[in-house]
Amino acid sequence: MIARRQLLGALPAGLLLSGCDALTKVDTLKAVVKSGEQATYRWQRLVGRDGLAREFSAADLSPVFKVNGTRRPTNSEWQALEAGGFADWRLRVSGLVKKELALSMADLASLPQRTQITRHDCVEGWSAIGQWTGPQLANVLKAAGLRDGARYIVFLCADDYGGEASKGGLQSSSRYYESIDLVDAFHPQTILAHSLNGQKLGAGHGAPLRLRVERQLGYKQAKYLMQIVVADSLAPFGQGNGGYWPDRGYEWYAGI
């Protein structure tokens, strides 16, 4: 039981501060405060457009790379692909491209590979260091050829995600997706990873392929990739904010 004395001590402060909680629900204030995200995005693009995320050595690898979010997609389409060893899996590349693609794991393996040991920073506050291998997204996009008007690269995933209470906000379940701008899409460390620490990705880490966009937080590292769409607007996807978590109040630009 929580002591009554401690409760009484908290009471005056509670009354004073409950007014502040109401502030976070005023639409005008919400819009003002949200403007900070644009300031952050523009500032980071100004000072660090080409900056590289730090790469670590094998000695720095986390002994266990924490599995977060979906542990295993529940839909039958992904499960059937997994059962077949992802032999029938194809990464579709569509939207504002000159040539639509459907890439197999073998096609992706035939592209130049990049291996990088980087730190994964979760929005919750924890970090883990892992070694990722896969082709650079830039080479896939060059193979497809971007058409005029392309502004965003949208990643559609196989998992229906139901959210975790610890992240707060609206927790409705829906298909996971994410998106990035062209600066990050053509960044040399942005890869489509098929391996973690030299092993093929398991179900927990996004088999068979996940995005690594190293200068942003963990929720941008979309797992279970099925399709890449090149788009001029984020409006048609999900609730229009560019990602599963951005639709639930989180920053679309997660470099912070």
């Binding site: 405060v33 660090g48 900056g51 670590f56 919750e124 924890w126 707060g168 912070i256």
Partner: protein
């Protein structure tokens, strides 16, 4: 007598507002992962360099909140780890609802508000710093003089503070040595540290400025130092408010609002 210039007053209250929101939203953000580590990495699957954790154990009816610091466990039921929700139900949460913004765990909203007020804190702080350096106010009024730092003088000021004898008359128009040390410590050390460690948690800024997290020995160290600096700033605020109340709140707060301080009559 003009005690505080308009810019000092504006930046003081803007700073107060920003820190108030940063503190409360920061406590909400901490609740998403109430553990602290040293080094680059750390998670529930990599706890060897964890040095602090808040949590709760027991059934809902007998929930005990605790804080682990190193190998020691402190029972903090009702305040840290476990406290009552606004509706009076026992809940597992790092900091109690009355100390966080939003009141309930909401990482997305807390982050948005935190980063907005981080911009306010930084821009306001740069304005104060620029003005203080150009006008010479920081050297003249905030940094202690060598004479003030003599042990005998320091001891005298400590005794006067302990007796709650505050400067009167003309002496009230400039800061004494303890006050200068406290203000310099917060404005020139703790706030810059809390800003730099905050920036060192941003993967985008770490890529742009690799020294940012290297300076603290990694992102998780930066997060730990951010938390410690926050606690020190909160401690300063408590002391600052207590001393304002003890030394004549109407006169002191009035001076920081209007800029004018009456002298001569003491309180």
């Amino acid at each position: 007598m003009l005690r505080h210039s308009l810019l000092v007053r504006l930046t003081h209250w803007t700073n107060a507002l920003a820190i108030f929101f940063l503190l409360m939203t920061g406590l909400n953000i901490f609740g998403a992962h109430p553990r602290l580590y040293w080094g680059h990495a750390g998670s529930v699957d990599q706890v060897e360099r964890q040095w602090l954790q808040m949590g709760a154990s027991g059934s809902a009816a007998r929930l005990r909140g605790w804080v682990d610091v190193g190998d020691r466990r402190f029972d903090t039921t009702g305040l840290l780890g476990a406290s009552e929700s606004p509706k009076g139900a026992p809940s597992i949460v790092a900091f109690p609802h009355w100390a966080t913004l939003p009141a309930m765990r909401d990482l997305a909203t807390a982050r948005t508000w935190h980063f907005f007020f981080a911009w306010v804190l930084i821009l306001n702080g740069l304005m104060w710093l620029g003005y203080g350096l150009v006008s010479g106010r920081i050297g003249r009024e905030i940094l202690p003089s060598l004479a003030q730092l003599r042990p005998a003088h320091l001891w005298h000021d400590i005794v006067e503070h302990a007796k709650l004898n505050f400067p009167k008359g003309e002496a009230a128009l400039s800061y004494e040595v303890l006050q200068r040390l406290a203000y310099a410590g917060v404005a020139l050390v703790l706030i810059p540290v809390v800003i730099l460690t905050g920036m060192a948690m941003s993967p985008g800024l770490n890529a742009a400025f690799p020294f940012l997290d290297a300076l603290w020995g990694g992102r998780q160290s930066a997060r730990s130092v951010h938390f410690i600096a926050m606690a020190a700033i909160a401690g300063f605020m408590a002391l600052h408010l207590a001393l304002v109340l003890l030394s004549g709140p109407v006169r002191q707060i009035g001076a920081m609002i209007t800029g004018r301080m009456t002298i001569g009559g003491g309180k």
